[in-house]
Amino acid sequence: MFPVTTAHYLILSTTLLVIGTIGVLTRRNLLVILMSIELILNAVNINLVAFSNHLQNVNGQVFVIFVITAAAAEVAVGLGILIALFRNKETVHADEVDILRW
């Protein structure tokens, strides 16, 4: 338990990533699916900062900034798609959007 090692952070980020994956796969609401993607990205960020601290190398923290940038772009486009979807189909449920299904 004591002291907290890098492996502790890795276990935490693994758990967070699995929770996010369960959220993406099981929820029907597209907003919650997008939020679960945020959870996954944060798990990756925890990992990057933990290794940055472990190796005493600041490059990992710069990577986190780029991940946050990509997350912001993803959310902007994703929510734009969601608004367009809601305007056309009056739904925010992932399993009711099956117009491309063969």
Binding site: T6, L10, R28, Q56, V58, V62, V77, D95
Partner: protein
């Protein structure tokens, strides 16, 4: 050292509790609020590890920007009707099994790697309450080594903004 450990466990508990509630609660607004709690916990973990700049970025960009965007969109869709609907898709147990397999794989990876790569030794923890030169170091690397990537990231954001506007615009027949 003890304070470090206690802070880690407190923030880790907040992160995991918030994450579980984010993916299980019925009301989307509650999900968003617990996601904010999770993101605050992650910012706290950055602070514990001495990444002060990232903790600030996390609070400003994630909580101040992204989560406000989420809440705006949540207000555009009807919540009252939403609460009465099914929360989980039909393939939920299959999805949980797949996630359990993923968890097992990653767990084996961490347990093997923890000994082999010296990860079970604590990284050099910064003194709490002692402001380091973290922002200066990050800024120096960001604007020298990663300058091209930084500019490309700004173009990515510009494209995303234009894309979001185009996507959510009301198209009128001309």
């Amino acid at each position: 050292m003890l304070l470090d450990s206690l802070l880690f466990y407190a923030f880790a508990a907040l992160v995991l509790l918030g994450a579980v509630l984010t993916i299980t609660l019925r009301n989307v607004v509650h999900c968003a609020v617990w996601l904010i709690a999770t993101l605050l916990g992650v910012a706290g973990l950055y602070l514990v590890q001495g990444a002060e700049f990232l903790a600030g970025v996390q609070v400003i960009v994630y909580i101040g920007g992204i989560m406000v965007l989420y809440l705006f969109v949540i207000m555009l869709v009807p919540i009252n009707e939403e609460v009465r609907q099914r929360r989980f898709a039909q393939q939920k147990w299959l999805a949980v099994i797949a996630a359990a397999v993923l968890a097992t794989q990653l767990g084996i990876l961490v347990s093997r790697g923890a000994g082999a790569f010296g990860l079970s030794a604590a990284g050099p923890a910064p003194e709490i309450g002692n402001i380091t030169q973290n922002s200066q170091e990050v800024g120096y690397v960001l604007f020298s080594e990663y300058l091209l990537a930084f500019e490309l990231a700004s173009i990515l954001l510009l494209v995303a903004i234009v894309g979001a506007v185009v996507m959510s615009k009301v198209r009128t027949e001309s």
